[in-house]
Amino acid sequence: MPGSDRKAPYAYAGLDRVFHEKARLGIATSLAGHAYGLGFSDLKALCGLTDGNLSRHLQVLEEAGFVALDKGYVGKRPHTLCRLTDLGREQFMAYLAELERVLRQAARATAGRSVDDLKTSPQAG
């Protein structure tokens, strides 16, 4: 909301918590380039996650409506295809826009400071 942006420019309400987690960000980014989705094992290899971890994060994304899981068989083996839904694609694009805004604000805020200053400065919050 523009109004709330003016009141709290660093609130970053658009950083959706569903995506704003390392593993889920990796999953969404991996799926972003594949219109027809990726198999569970491919996704596991790309994100460096265990079966249990990937299942848990996919469940969170599925419950939010951002990922669809199509379960079927390839030959006689069970195969799960994971893909971003239209809502997931739209929300991930909005998340990336907000993340970009954060980085641009950070770039402006640190524009006058040297790299050494940034390395030694205490973290906020």
Binding site: A35, E90, A107
Partner: protein, 177 residues
């Protein structure tokens, strides 16, 4: 390059990847059909009034360029409205991506028109057929991102088959005439 610039560049890359793998919903069937109706009306008008609309190469080209401009405007207006409605935050990225995909075909069409009109004005009658083949190529190259293979392949095949069969027939008619 600073870390922040590197991160911004990564985000731009992910965004482009996301847009290129997302199906574009901006092409409205009604607008596409409308462009076909414009072409049909132009062909009928040229058949009914050949002296006014088709005997002179300049007028012939003017009629078909008008059809192309009107069709592009119709598809663009309807497409922009649909994109805003159906793609939300992705709208501008999707429009830019699709425009980038289609631009080479537009440039090729304009180039063919200019070259043909300039160097072989007696053969400008083949222009609509050549444009149709270019439109078929757009259809085939955008199978994954625009309409989906099930509807795109038959439409693209028809767009290639029709001029490929009608151009030789036109050629024979020209020789008889």
């Amino acid at each position: 390059m600073r870390d922040i610039d590197h991160a911004l560049s990564d985000i731009a890359g992910i965004r482009a990847q996301l847009a290129s793998s997302t199906r574009f919903h901006g092409l409205a069937p009604a607008a596409i059909a409308g462009s076909g109706a414009f072409a049909f009306l132009a062909a009928v008008a040229q058949t009914l009034w050949p002296e006014r609309l088709s005997n002179d190469p300049a007028r012939y080209v003017a009629v078909w360029v008008s059809v192309a401009v009107a069709s592009a405007a119709l598809i663009l207006v309807e497409g922009l409205a649909r994109v805003g409605r159906m793609h939300g935050a992705m709208a501008s990225t999707m429009v830019v991506g699709t425009a980038r995909q289609m631009a080479p075909f537009g440039v090729a069409g304009a180039g063919i028109t200019l070259i043909l009109y300039d160097s072989a004005p007696g053969s400008v009658w083949i222009l609509p057929g050549l444009w149709q083949i270019l439109i078929a190529l757009i259809g085939f190259t955008s199978l994954e991102t625009c309409q989906g293979p099930s509807s795109g392949r038959p439409a693209g095949t028809l767009f290639v088959a029709w001029p490929c069969s009608s151009l030789p027939a036109g050629e024979r008619r020209c020789h008889r005439g």
